[in-house]
């Protein structure tokens, strides 16, 4: 493997371009070679277009003198295949969109490209972002680069695996219930779910519109800060984006908010479900935070225990509505069953959708349909919406006592393929620490904290207040510096 790639971070690459140590076409070519050598075993990318990526890189070669003014000059990125990029296929890892070509580019990607980033390819994920292991893709499992017999996490499994295996310098995922943070934790990279409304969802195939957020996965907190400051901000094409100004996160990381004197909230009851290795890594991290001058304070999130149930009702209900558009009429797969064998238009829809959607997607659509149906709406959806508000209030009260809440990202490290497939609740439980954050719309970051006894990465989750990504990034950056360089898997 090319040693340069193994050591490179986004920040280091930008400095290298500014010093003219290398050119974009050289870097992109090196990453494309590495992807070619590794993608068959990892299955992280679903589509690549080396010619297009190199052409963009060569255009940037001629602009190398502008490297300093383009915040992501020449940075090769990977994009989860649920986000539209003009001219690229976007499948949402589903058969129902197997031949869909994006007619426009998502705002988040447009901003990254304008800043100089170069899309290398679209990454594999759980179908329509529904899953926690990337075992629900219609295009095969993604393998964890740390142990290819194990899952990378999900639903942004391809994005996390691409990052961990040094196939790119930044990747973009989406997080509805933990789908950036949990795979980041399983793959030993940094992953951020911004505050709801911080980053535009225009051009992102919707799963659950009140929960979905776009975010970066990178090698370091600085790299994440750079990608966020480029993507974030009001978008007239997404009415839920916030007018709150976007902080220059990387600039302020230099004069980081000191950990010393800060109050870090901990939720001790949550540790009961953790594996021993995750628990001891977490406790070691807390000791490190204390040694850096932070104080630990117990906070209560008494209704968080209802988060998964609340989430699965709300997310499934929203997805049953969002996925109604896939009916085989304007785009996507239409059944090839002859019209004479169909009982009308509704049967055309039902047959096309029955053929095109995978098992987990159908399960969630039906759960959502049930929860919204007459006779059940009050007991399920309305109730879940009320419980959601109570969970939000729990976080409000907790943040009166602390500056950030720190928890393990997931109760375990990467599990083996098939290990949690028999019982859906066991799979859902891997998001038990991440899901409450989506319900509350808060920002949260997963940072690698250690390695378990099987050699697998463990993640530490930092939860912050609305639109206060600066505090999260600042505190986590200091933790990261104290922790030292995190290893990468040997590919």
């Amino acid at each position: 493997m090319n040693l340069l790639i193994q050591d490179l971070t986004l920040e280091r690459a930008l400095k290298g371009y500014q010093k003219k140590e290398f050119k974009p076409s050289e870097i992109v070519a090196a990453y494309l070679r590495h992807i070619e050598a590794t993608n068959q075993s990892l299955n992280s990318f679903l589509s690549l277009d080396p010619e297009r990526s190199l052409e963009k890189a060569k255009t940037l070669d001629k602009q190398i003198d502008s490297a300093a003014v383009m915040p992501l000059f020449g940075i090769p990125i990977a994009v989860k295949d649920i986000i539209l990029v003009t001219g690229w296929k976007t499948t949402a890892s589903s058969k129902i969109l197997e031949n869909y070509t994006s007619p426009y580019t998502a705002t988040c990607i447009e901003r990254l490209e304008k800043a100089g980033a170069i899309v290398l390819g679209k990454t594999n994920c759980d179908e329509f972002a529904m899953g926690s292991s990337n075992e629900n893709s219609a295009y095969g499992n993604v393998k964890n680069p740390w142990d290819t017999a194990r899952v990378p996490g999900g639903s942004s499994g391809g994005a996390a695996a691409a990052m961990a295996s040094s196939q790119c310098l930044g990747s973009i995922g989406t997080d509805t219930g933990g789908s950036i943070r949990q795979p980041a934790s399983f793959c030993g990279v940094v992953g951020l779910k911004p505050t709801y409304g911080r980053v535009s969802r225009y051009g992102v195939i919707a799963f659950a519109s009140s929960l979905d957020q776009v975010g970066p996965l990178t090698h370091t907190v600085w790299d994440t800060a750079r990608m966020l400051e480029v993507m974030a901000g009001k978008d007239p094409c997404d009415a839920t984006t916030s007018t709150q100004s976007v902080t220059q996160y990387t600039k302020n990381l230099v004069n980081a908010i000191p950990l010393k004197g800060k109050k870090i909230g901990i939720v001790s009851p949550w540790l009961e479900g953790c594996s021993p290795d995750v628990r001891s890594s977490y406790e070691a991290s807390l000791e490190m935070l204390k040694s850096l001058g932070a104080s630990l304070i117990e906070v209560a999130l008494p209704h968080a225990t209802y988060s998964l149930a609340t989430y699965y009702i709300i997310a499934s209900s929203e997805c049953s509505s969002n996925l109604a558009r896939f009916d085989g009429i304007h785009y996507g797969r239409r059944t090839r069953v002859a019209p004479s064998h169909l009982e009308g238009l509704a049967d055309l829809y039902s047959t096309s959708r029955g053929e095109g959607f995978g098992s987990e997607v159908k399960s969630r659509i039906m759960l959502g349909t049930y929860a919204l149906s007459s006779g059940y709406y009050d007991a399920f959806y309305k109730k879940a919406s009320e419980v959601r508000k109570i969970i939000q209030q729990d976080f409000d009260l907790a943040f009166e006592k602390c500056d950030a809440i720190v928890t393990p990202t997931s109760p375990s490290t990467a599990f083996q393929f098939g290990e949690k497939s028999a019982d859906p609740i066991q799979m859902y439980l891997s998001d038990v620490y991440t899901v409450p954050v989506n319900l509350a719309g808060l920002p949260a970051l997963s940072v690698p904290s250690g390695i378990d006894s099987n050699g697998l990465p463990i993640g530490l989750q930092w939860i912050g207040q609305s639109f206060d990504e600066m505090t999260l990034l600042g505190l986590a950056s200091q933790y990261e510096n104290a922790r030292g360089k995190f290893p990468r898997p040997n590919i």
């Binding site: 003009t86 031949n99 070509t101 007619p103 426009y104 709801y196 409304g197 007239p236 009415a239 839920t240 916030s242 209704h303 209802y306 149930a309 609340t310 699965y312 009702i313 049953s320 109604a324 009916d327 009429i329 304007h330 785009y331 996507g332 797969r333 239409r334 019209p339 169909l342 009982e343 009308g344 238009l345 509704a346 049967d347 055309l348 829809y349 039902s350 047959t351 959708r353 029955g354 159908k362 399960s363 659509i365 039906m366 759960l367 349909t369 049930y370 149906s373 399920f380 109730k383 879940a384 009320e386 419980v387 959601r388 508000k389 109570i390 939000q392 019982d423 859906p424 609740i425 719309g441």
Partner: protein, 99 residues
């Protein structure tokens, strides 16, 4: 709880999802398992008051004027069947709801 075959067929009809017999049986157990889990919310007396949306933005309106998409062709070319700039569908002249 258990779900009957008829309940699953009703839900799948509402969701416009045609299931095989094997799938229907699979989802009877699958959905029952998840519904049993999420029903735990019944234990909680939720008393959250007031409006609490996910976004505080209230003035997200733009001018009500027509703008054109950059490429009609890029939109239409994803159609499973087309006739020029029209989406084409089979002629279902007498639609019956299947029960």
């Amino acid at each position: 709880m258990t779900l009957s075959k008829e309940q699953v067929l009703k839900i799948s009809h509402l969701a416009r999802l045609k299931l095989t017999d094997a799938e229907t049986e699979f989802y009877q157990a699958r959905l029952a398992r998840v519904i049993d889990y999420v029903k735990e919310l019944e234990k909680l007396e939720a008393t959250a008051s007031g409006e609490r949306g996910m976004s505080d933005e209230r003035e997200s309106f733009r001018a009500d004027c027509v703008s054109s998409f950059q490429s009609l062709e890029d939109l239409i070319k994803n159609a499973p069947d087309r006739d020029g700039s029209f989406f084409s569908i089979p002629p279902f002249l007498a639609t019956r709801d299947y029960q």
